[in-house]
């Protein structure tokens, strides 16, 4: 399979919590009540009252999988390469190309032991159109 090793140094979910922490800490309780009409979220209260929980939050994860690209990014890259390299005449029509790209996405997102057969990929493909070069060619 393509490029699972393309690295990404942090996932966005972790990042958002880290970035929001200093802002939360900078605002005192009275300011909070002026700015926010709703009662504060329980997690915000706990970070202000208990400083020990902050250190556990700021500990970086150093798992190998954290540095990998997400499946969506890999799929987008694969589709970009295919649409850059394969001329449009090979697909026969824009619909065929769209259908194939959907299958590329499916293939990248397959989990272990899941398979994609040629029969599934050929669903919805039209090979009889006049612009197709695949008439009778395997």
């Amino acid at each position: 399979m393509l490029i699972v090793s393309a690295s990404k140094l942090c996932d966005k979910g972790v990042l958002d919590t880290r970035l929001s922490l200093p802002h939360v800490k900078g605002v005192s309780g009275s300011d909070m009540s002026k700015l926010v009409s709703q009662p504060p979220f329980p997690s915000l209260i706990s970070t202000e009252t208990a400083p020990s929980s902050e250190s556990s939050l700021s500990k970086p994860k150093d798992s190998f999988t954290d540095f990998a690209s997400s499946i969506g990014e890999v799929s987008a890259f694969a589709r970009a390469v295919i649409s850059n390299i394969v001329p449009i005449e090979f697909w026969g029509s824009e619909e065929n190309k769209k259908g194939f790209m959907r299958n590329v996405d499916r293939f990248v997102k397959l989990r272990r032991y899941e398979t994609l057969s040629l029969h599934e990929v050929m669903q919805g493909m039209k090979v009889g159109s006049s612009s197709s070069v695949y008439q009778g060619v395997n």
């Binding site: 490029i3 690295s7 140094l9 700021s58 390469v81 390299i85 001329p87 005449e89 057969s117 395997n138």
Partner: protein
């Protein structure tokens, strides 16, 4: 073997057959194969679109049945060669060399339009900047790494 609807179900797209399931092993395998990876693609082994023999070689990989080479439709898989459901077609050089003697032969169906399209595909492959694409679609978030550090958080 006849090509029918039921047969198409048994043709399965196999991912990288040598790709192991555990990430730690994947890392070591990618390191070992990094020197080889550009040769594994036939478009890199035969890169010249104006060379007729190069184009024919790519055609052999794309349409093996037209050249009577081993293919998923009519050939049987030798169980001594692979444990995968289908044969690995990454390198066909040995098979093509065994066939021999047909250096400039092109099947009738592949002459003309298909030949030109494959030539164009080779040209597009040569021109395509894969590095720019991977930078765009799979970016490396270097800045966010520093948001963990204390001084970066003060700067925020």
């Amino acid at each position: 073997m006849p090509v029918g609807r039921s047969f198409l179900v048994s043709v399965i797209f196999v991912g990288d057959a040598s790709f192991p399931s555990r990430p730690s092993e994947a890392h070591s395998v990618s390191k070992n194969r990094s020197n080889m990876s550009h040769v594994l693609d036939v478009l890199n082994r035969f890169p010249n679109p104006s060379d007729r023999t190069h184009v024919i070689h790519i055609l052999r990989y794309m349409f093996p049945r037209q050249f009577n080479l081993h293919n998923v439709f009519t050939s049987t898989v030798d169980r001594k060669e692979t444990i995968q459901p289908l044969k690995d077609y990454t390198l066909r050089e040995h098979e093509i060399a065994l066939q021999g003697g047909k250096g400039s032969f092109i099947p009738k169906r592949l002459k003309g339009k298909t030949f030109d399209l494959v030539q164009r595909m080779m040209r597009l492959h040569k021109r395509c900047s894969y590095h720019a694409l991977i930078e765009y679609y799979c970016p490396v978030w270097v800045l966010f790494l520093f948001s963990y550090l204390p001084f970066a958080r003060v700067a925020c």
